[in-house]
């Protein structure tokens, strides 16, 4: 896998606006159909509804008849797109040109997986789309028709509805960010009845050129609308963070949220960042003899089973939270409705800020734990000396 270094940093000022005739879906599909017909790419990764069921899943689409069941923005996120993309590309040598249509958090997961060598981006065009959110998987499975209907209404109005997944309600990165993430972005905000294509990399530019599109249309309207919604949702996110930081101020508050946990590891298995084939917390590294467990039990009077439930969550955090893209896949997969996505996203937020790191923003930003600076974090190491040094510098 080579390092796909991208030059663009500031996203472009111009894009290509396309009128919506039948539906947004139709307009978007027409672009893809053309790209497939002209062999600009060989297959498209996109969500689709499994025929005769209410279920959605990812497909690699080559035959155009499959557009009938494809859906760029289904009401639910089933498998996190990063996971889907990694599942077929991690061993490299795809031999095909593939485009992937992803929600922004899924694309951010792909970028993180790229840094972890779990995807092959050599022949991959990453396309993102303005995302209105998704509905909780459990709600959808209980009543697919009703939930799909309300999703339709919510997404048309870009409403920050309480019925969306909590991760989506609190998501301020639902659109294109100023970084080297996707190659192409599909803007839905801004003008009604217009879809805006925004190239975000030389590859993206190339793609538009090959499709015969010139990036000449102004992005102002899209930007204004987008920034407005970003602001609104940032506010929402901040109040979520505040509320949950308050709730979990002392360790008990945090652990109490996990009282119902049955240690099934669904959250880990749904998480795009947790890619390990053998999770440490499933391994034999944490087995002890019965007498050790009895000893542990005597220390507190009782020992919880399954063993290591708290260790699992804290440990998993230490493994991946710097890369948490706040997608909420974990929370969707939890059978006992633990707000595990919110907990991880909250801790992630704090930790990421400490390292000044935004997961999935730039392909070339190294993972924080893979690099270090000799003179950083002196405030953590030797707080007193650190203060002295700071005052000296000011002088």
């Amino acid at each position: 896998m080579s390092n796909n270094q991208k030059e663009t940093k500031n996203y472009p000022n111009k894009g290509k606006s396309l009128p919506v005739e039948k539906s947004i879906k139709d307009t978007v599909f027409n672009i893809f159909k053309k790209a497939l017909e002209e062999n600009i790419f060989d297959a498209l990764l996109i969500p689709a509804k499994v025929p005769d069921t209410d279920a959605y899943s990812w497909i690699l689409l080559q035959d155009e008849s499959l557009f009938d069941i494809a859906d760029p923005l289904p009401p639910v996120m089933t498998v996190q797109g990063g996971r889907a993309l990694s599942s077929f590309s991690k061993n490299g040598e795809l031999g095909l040109k593939i485009a992937a249509l992803l929600r922004p958090c899924e694309a951010r997961a792909v970028i993180e997986l790229f840094k972890l060598h779990q995807v092959d981006l050599d022949n991959m065009t990453l396309i993102t789309i303005d995302c209105p959110g998704a509905m909780p998987l459990a709600d959808y499975m209980n009543d697919p028709k009703k939930i799909a209907d309300s999703f339709k209404k919510i997404s048309e109005k870009w409403e920050i509805s309480e019925s969306l997944r909590p991760a989506c309600q609190n998501c301020h990165r639902f659109s294109l960010m100023d970084g080297t993430g996707p190659d192409l972005h599909i803007g839905l905000l801004g003008e009604n009845n217009k879809v805006t294509l925004i190239a975000n990399s030389p590859e993206g530019n190339d793609l538009l050129e090959k499709l015969g599109f010139e990036s000449k249309d102004s992005l102002d309207k899209w930007k204004t609308e987008k920034e407005k919604l970003v602001k609104e949702k940032t506010k929402k996110r901040e109040s979520f963070l505040k509320e949950w930081q308050e709730k979990t101020k002392n360790p008990d508050g945090f652990f109490n949220e996990l009282n119902k946990c049955i240690n099934c590891h669904n959250c880990m298995n749904a998480c795009p960042i947790c890619y390990c084939q053998q999770c440490y917390f499933d391994s034999q590294m944490i087995n002890f003899k019965p007498e050790i467990y009895l000893k542990k039990s005597r220390e507190k009077g009782a020992l919880r089973f399954p063993l290591n439930t708290m260790l699992f969550h804290i440990g998993r955090m230490s493994h991946m939270v710097l890369s948490c893209v706040a997608c909420g896949a974990c929370e969707d997969a939890c059978p006992v409705s633990i707000p595990v996505g919110r907990l991880f996203s909250m801790v992630g937020d704090k930790t990421q800020k400490q390292f000044d790191y935004v997961p999935g923003l730039n392909r070339e930003d190294p993972l924080p734990l893979q690099i270090f600076k000799e003179d950083e974090f002196c405030e953590v190491e030797t707080p007193n000396e650190c203060e002295e040094k700071a005052t000296e510098e000011v002088k």
Binding site: D52, W58, A84, D120, M141, N256, K260, N269, P290, G301
Partner: protein, 370 residues
């Protein structure tokens, strides 16, 4: 005539007192049982060693947050416990533990096994429900009347093996109209009799198989037929299987919580079953499209070949499935066919080898000769 004692207390309270006194008198060094985690309805298994902590124990609470057989296996995986421990588990959990011990994944020694005649457990998604208390009290009413509680797991609703096998002490709860005043402990082993001396009960002569129990079994058998008929419809085969598992996320939660699936690294999580990008061109050429991640059906069918013959019908897999796939019903249906073919009863006899690990020269003679 089975040995039995009658205790003149509410069944939950009576069992609680009995276990607590065993712990206090140091007849045992720990109780493995369900425990309240907070006031919001969270319940978890615990190994309780201090009588003080025992106050939150709820041995018969109708939840199965983890199959206790799996939990006890993780406790005794590296050797038997040297200290005596009482463990309260449900019949299917006990059967699971026996299957695991058979596979060298645990040790039954030094356990005093206590198990109830079982009315089932509530679906896990009811844990923390705002009506939890009400649902639980309705559950107990149905146990009293030996009726099938609609809030219990689908597998429980059709479970026929609700009387414990291999327990030292059986707590008779099902169909006991006077549950809140008195109940019976059946003492099935010398160990059970020994420990029961510390219970405040009086000897009675009763049989575990009552008219109520028999009728209850019949009701469950009927439901079993109904559920099996609805799942994986005959003749529709592949299509029906694809539709059942269509929403599957591949989270493998079902195998993770399955007591029989004990592998540290599941075959289907291993490198062997990763998709080879090299076959992508060919697959797309043949089919025009491909669901990713691939391997969904292979996982479920493959897992069946690994464990369904030992499926104890506990229902953990269905409860953990985030997309409501009736995994347990499908596995149970396949499991019961396999058990019939191999004449095998999972969890019954620790000496009986699991069907995959053995054979008889004289069986299936016509196969292969056609």
């Amino acid at each position: 005539m089975a040995k039995a004692i009658k205790i003149k207390k509410n069944v939950e309270e009576g069992l609680f007192d009995f276990l607590k006194s065993l712990l206090e008198k140091e007849k045992i060094n720990g109780v493995f049982t369900l425990k309240k985690m907070d006031d919001n309805g969270a319940i978890s298994y615990s190994l309780i060693t201090s009588p003080d902590e025992f106050k939150d124990a709820v041995p018969l609470y109708p939840f199965m947050p983890v199959n206790a057989g799996k939990a006890l296996s993780s406790f005794t995986l590296l050797g038997k416990t040297e200290e005596p421990i009482a463990a309260v588990l449900r019949p299917c959990e006990l059967r699971a533990f026996v299957e695991l011990v058979k596979r060298a994944q645990g040790d039954l020694e030094n356990f005093l096994i206590i198990s109830p005649t079982c009315g089932g457990v509530l679906s896990l998604n009811l844990m923390g429900d705002k009506n939890q208390e009400k649902i639980v009290s309705q559950y107990w009413t149905s146990v009293q009347k030996a009726e099938i509680s609609p809030d219990t797991r689908e597998t429980c609703q059709f479970c026929e093996n609700f009387l414990p096998i291999n327990a030292d002490i059986t707590v008779a709860a099902l169909g006991n109209k006077d549950l809140d005043k008195e109940f019976i402990l059946f003492l099935n082993s010398p160990k059970g009799e020994e420990f029961a001396k510390h219970a405040e009960g009086s000897a009675v002569s009763e049989e575990i198989e009552t008219k109520e129990i028999n009728e209850f079994r019949k009701k469950r058998e009927e439901l079993r037929e109904k559920f099996f008929k609805e799942t994986g419809k005959e003749g529709e085969g592949l299509k029906s299987l694809i539709n059942i598992f269509a929403p599957c996320l591949g989270c493998h939660g079902c195998s993770h919580v399955c007591p029989i699936c004990y592998c540290v690294l599941c075959d289907f999580d291993a490198k062997t079953h990763e998709y080879h990008s090299a076959s992508l061109s060919l697959d797309l050429k043949n089919k025009g499209g491909l669901k990713v991640p691939t391997g969904n059906l292979l996982f479920h069918l493959g897992r069946m070949t690994h464990m369904a013959v030992s499926c104890v019908n506990c229902g953990m897999c269905s409860d953990v499935c985030p997309v409501n796939i009736p995994v347990a019903t499908v596995f149970s249906k396949v499991g019961s066919s396999l058990q019939k073919v191999f004449n095998y009863f999972p969890g019954k006899d620790i000496e009986e080898p699991a069907p995959q690990g053995t054979y008889k020269e004289e069986e299936f003679k016509t196969i292969g000769e056609q």
